[in-house]
Amino acid sequence: MYPRPFEYFSPQTLDEAVALLSQLGEAAKVLAGGQSLIPLMKLRMSSPRYLVDINRIGGLSRVAQRNGAMIFGTLARHVEIEDSIAIKSKLPIMHDTASVIGDTQVRNLGTIGGALAHADPAGDWPPTLLALNAKVKCCGPKGERTLSTDELLVDAYSTNLSASEVLTEISVPLPWAGSGGAYLKFERKAGDFAVASVAVQIALDNGETCRDIGVGLGAVGLTAIRARKAESLLRGKKLSKALIQDAAKQISAEADPFSDIRGTADYKRHLVTVLFERAMNVAMRRAHGEEVETVHV
């Protein structure tokens, strides 16, 4: 299967890419890892007239710690995040997330920035980056601007980015000591999209009181959903099983799933409560310093 014909540009600098995008307008698409865009183009669900490949621009895949945050260049591949020992120890939730995306071949090419800008409702990065309070930097003809993940994700496959902007960086604040996180995804078969997924990042005081929490839900709405009501139910409280179950009920209410080939809306509403309780369990154990592999939970 071939995509419809298009013209291909491979700018060497970010300025060049932004200038091209400004000139080409809505008919252009940015190509990062291509693991969503190219299948869509082959299926003729998307037929951009121009493709601007940003892979030849240097420095866009850097991952570095800066000013209390872990900064991910937009072209950081899922595999690099999955394999990084530093990320596994500082932000295990990101290791969880990277390692359940697609399969090895997809993770070798797919990028964090591309996946986020694609804004797939069932994508794995959006719920995790919501839970982590991540910020994204984008670069356009008027210069740079910074958005929260919330502000970025507008609707299914729709973001706040204009046609001439490139998402360049994702900044994840480093968690306080006594923090833990987990991302759990339920899939029908290896490498599939999530039926539902839950990301939890929690900071504990004295190992039992919830100092702060972020909860992101995936595949149960048009965008990933930040479960703010459930978060405020838990924030500042001593965590008990009953309280977590109350929060799970709230999660179920905040989810907004639709019935599709992967399950009915009712089923997914139930599934997020189960995933939430499991993710809380792993996140809290990690906050206590335990090493937990999510694939075995």
Binding site: M1, Y2, P3, R4, P5, F6, E7, Y8, S10, L31, G34, Q35, I38, P39, M41, K42, L43, R49, L51, D53, N55, V79, G102, D103, T104, Q105, V106, N108, L109, A190, G191
Partner: protein, 174 residues
Amino acid sequence: MERRWKPFMSEEKQVILKKKVVIKINGKDCEREVEPRMLLVDFLRDELGLTGTHIGCDTSNCGACTVLLDGRSIKSCTFLAVAADGRQVKTVEGLAEDGKLHPIQEAFWEHHGLQCGYCTSGMLMSALHLLSHNPSPTDYQVRRGIAGNLCRCTGYQFIVDSVKDAAKRMKATR
């Protein structure tokens, strides 16, 4: 015959601009002019006649088209040939050297790691990627390593056996 789709033409020239690419395939520079929409798998098969790389699903699911790009496994049906310009690709044809099978191929032969053979070239390349990054994988790691490759014949057990034996063979030759 009437075209089913209306091609987008370059406004100035009314032709689809081809791009020159030079891709190092199995150690040899290959230079061609290709349409930007040409996928790497079609470049390998149609331009170069390297038909060892198969097209299975053509939708990024089955992994039959797996090749190594700069040492990492990718699905060549989901990668543009123009994007591979200046890079290195290894296909199944690059495994055997001087008529001698690669240890991974020998192990697949020995353990009947295939039946119809359609998925095999992709399996071999995924195994090569796995073993070059993890020389002694556990059963679980092997299964995870080939999760992007579908086989409808074997039930995977013999493939897992093959990859584990290949790991031993590769260590012995190192």
